[in-house]
């Protein structure tokens, strides 16, 4: 065995610095996504936007008598038409209203349940298994079935339509009576009533949020709670002074996710409306409408994010 010569570390004069190398490696890891966006997704999006500004006209060649499609620029015609369509505007507004009402309910409910699921209790494993069933199963399948029912129902004009659909859990009258004595204001009463009747929807929509909150709760260091206990804080104080600030980044994430999720699912009123326009068929108009809708929701997300990020507390790492 000859003495092995330990190679001297070569210093390449043109070699990249560590930060540059790390940056390059970073690009390597996100490469699949970048390629996908550039080669597949962006063309689809550009075509879709272009689609809403143009119109296809069938023309017949006078000589050969062959029909062919001619693309004619339509400018903002479809957008103007969409904005002048009263039904679309009212659907858009009611959709946005529903969103604004549903989102806080879903976020608060999922936080509440996640806090409970995080505590030690009887049958926690079983409850967790049950609570995450909606995450796995209720992704549009049940809605698709209901939609099919509605479609076939409306075609047949049957008597049975809606027999199951709007089964209200508690009659409006009961809660009305309960709240009318409490002098809390009409709006609150109707809001609570709406929530109670949409409880199924809300529970099924908050599965993923529950998971995200649970993960956030798990990552809070137990030593903080210990310190709190020693200082003599009640659990109520601990929640508002420790859990809430620590979980607030997750609230922001969930807020954004909930908005995006509830407006892109097919059960959404606006999505259903656009779907109908699509089927008429006014494809260009439907595309224009959905881009308008996308803009509106982006605005709502930005507004919610701006409000929420003002109270979000980021724990400084080290």
């Amino acid at each position: 065995m000859t003495n092995q010569v330990i190679p001297k570390r070569r210093h390449k004069p043109g070699g990249a610095a560590l930060s540059t190398r790390k940056a390059r490696q970073g690009w390597f890891f996100v490469l699949p996504f970048i390629i996908g966006i550039l080669l597949v997704y962006a063309p689809i999006v550009i075509d879709s936007i272009w689609f809403s500004f143009n119109t296809l006209v069938k023309e017949i060649d006078p000589v050969t008598q062959v029909a062919y499609n001619v693309v004619k620029p339509a400018g903002f015609t479809y957008y103007r038409e969409a904005l002048q369509n009263e039904e679309f505007i009212s659907t858009l507004l009611s959709g946005a209203g529903q969103l604004v009402l549903n989102v806080p309910a879903i976020v608060i409910f999922s936080l509440f349940i996640a806090v409970i699921l995080n505590q030690k209790m009887l049958g926690r494993a079983a409850f967790r298994a049950i609570f995450f069933i909606p995450v796995i199963l209720a992704t549009g399948l049940m809605e698709a079935i209901n939609l099919q029912d509605m479609l076939s129902g409306s075609i047949e004009g049957g008597i049975d339509t809606g027999a199951e659909g709007g089964g209200e859990l508690i009659s409006m009258m009961d809660i009305d009576m309960l709240f009318s004595n409490m002098k809390v204001g009409r709006e609150l009463v109707t809001y609570v009533l709406g929530l109670v009747n949409r409880v199924y929807e809300i529970i099924n929509d908050s599965g993923v949020q529950m998971l995200i909150f649970l993960a956030g709760l798990q990552s809070i260091s137990p030593s903080i709670y210990e310190a709190c206990q020693i200082e003599g804080a009640t659990s109520w104080e601990t929640f508002w002074k420790i859990t809430f600030p620590m979980i607030s980044p997750m609230i922001l994430v969930n807020l954004i996710y909930t908005i995006i999720d509830s407006f892109t699912k097919e059960a959404n009123v606006v999505m259903a409306f656009i779907e109908r326009v699509h089927l008429i068929p006014r494809v260009h108009l439907a595309t224009a409408m959905s881009w308008l809708y996308f803009l509106m929701v982006l605005l709502i997300v930005a507004a919610f994010a701006a409000i929420a990020s003002s109270f979000v507390f980021y724990q400084k790492r080290d």
Partner: protein, 352 residues
């Protein structure tokens, strides 16, 4: 017997100490019980335990009850839907719906196709989102924020917005070809014509590989949050030992993130399984109508067709039975993987 008597009484000098009096068993069990029962915090706790349990039961009921009624309905005979005395429990139990859905809608064929598709897509998506999420979490490069925003935007664009142009792009598939400006892609330039990819797995496979498939934005985001919680020291020590970046990723990071990957896989698999948007879009002209599982609810098996009064409800029950048949395999998988789901997310350390 003897052991009790041999226990020496506490020394007299010690027992006089006031603290000793309080803590060394001088308070009888009865007193202790009384103290416990009269303290408000004890009762608040007990009431909270009870209240919590009731809430949990109630929510579980809300989640499970629609399944229960649908399952019971699926066993009903045709007559039960017009029978006013039948509300929840079927009178004439039978398996007609299951039988004809399975035979005439070719359930097993559809299940096989869906399973293959979901498995391929879920594996690709899990790996791809893992990689992209790792890149976004651990490397500071120019454009990191931009890519993150792009991820969120792909999550936010409603699929129906892109439906038409997506279909066009996959009917005549080419890379980076913007049809509206007559921009031709490399495939057309080299081979002279584009490829038709509809009615095959390819559209979904391509989208899964690129991380732009169904809800992939969420997976990338979750992975990113997970990797942010993994301490940098782990990789640094691997680098010091001479391991390359990719090698470190495959050998150190991936084994570490298996529970999280199972979570993502479960999401991807089950959401692809029940997805009807893409299956309707890309498989519209398939050879037979029930090529993938979500299709079996859109056709009523010919043998079950009737033209009588309770038709709408009956057909609705048939569709729900189809839904149960779609869900059943997923539910079985879920029961096995469920503990990984919670575990994976628990370790994710999603903060910041």
């Amino acid at each position: 017997m003897n052991t009790k008597t041999t226990q020496a009484p506490p020394p007299a000098s010690d027992s006089k100490h006031p603290m000793r009096v309080m803590f060394q068993g001088r308070i009888s069990d009865k007193d202790r019980l009384r103290m416990k029962l009269t303290s408000p915090s004890f009762w608040i706790e007990k009431v909270w335990f009870f209240f919590r349990f009731v809430i949990m039961l109630g929510v579980s009921y809300v989640i499970l009850s629609p399944f229960l009624s649908k399952i019971l309905q699926s066993f009903m005979a045709k007559e039960d839907f017009v029978d006013a005395t039948v509300s929840i429990i079927p009178k004439n139990w039978n398996l007609q719906m299951y039988k004809f859905l399975i035979i005439e809608n070719e359930y097993f064929q559809a299940m096989f196709n869906t399973a293959a598709l979901s498995l391929i897509c879920a594996l690709l998506q899990t790996f791809c989102c893992c990689m992209v999420g790792y890149g976004l979490a651990k490397f500071k490069f120019k454009g990191n924020k931009l890519v993150t925003v792009l991820v969120i935007i792909t999550m936010a664009v409603p699929h129906s917005t892109l439906r038409l142009s997506m279909l066009q792009h996959f009917v005549s598939f080419d890379l980076a070809a913007i049809q509206s400006f007559n921009m031709k892609g490399p495939i057309e330039l080299i081979f002279g014509n584009t490829i038709k990819l509809t009615n095959s797995f390819w559209p979904l496979i391509i989208m899964s590989m690129a991380g732009i498939g169904l809800k992939n934005g969420l997976y990338i985001f979750m992975m990113r949050q997970f990797f942010r919680g993994v301490p940098d020291e782990l990789e640094e020590s691997a680098y010091v030992d001479g391991s390359g970046t990719f090698h470190t990723f495959v050998r150190i990071i991936l084994p570490l993130s298996i529970p999280m990957m199972i979570t993502i896989f479960l999401f991807a698999f089950s959401w692809q399984w029940t997805d009807s948007f893409y299956s309707e879009l890309f498989f519209a002209g398939a050879v037979n109508k029930t090529w993938l599982l979500p299709d079996i609810i859109s056709t009523i098996p010919p043998s079950l067709e009737t033209g009588y009064a309770g038709k709408a409800m009956y057909y609705s029950a048939i569709r729900n039975t189809g839904g149960i048949l779609i869900i059943l395999p997923l539910l079985i998988i879920y029961l096995f993987c469920q503990r990984y789901l919670v575990q994976g997310i628990e370790r994710s350390g999603l903060v910041g």
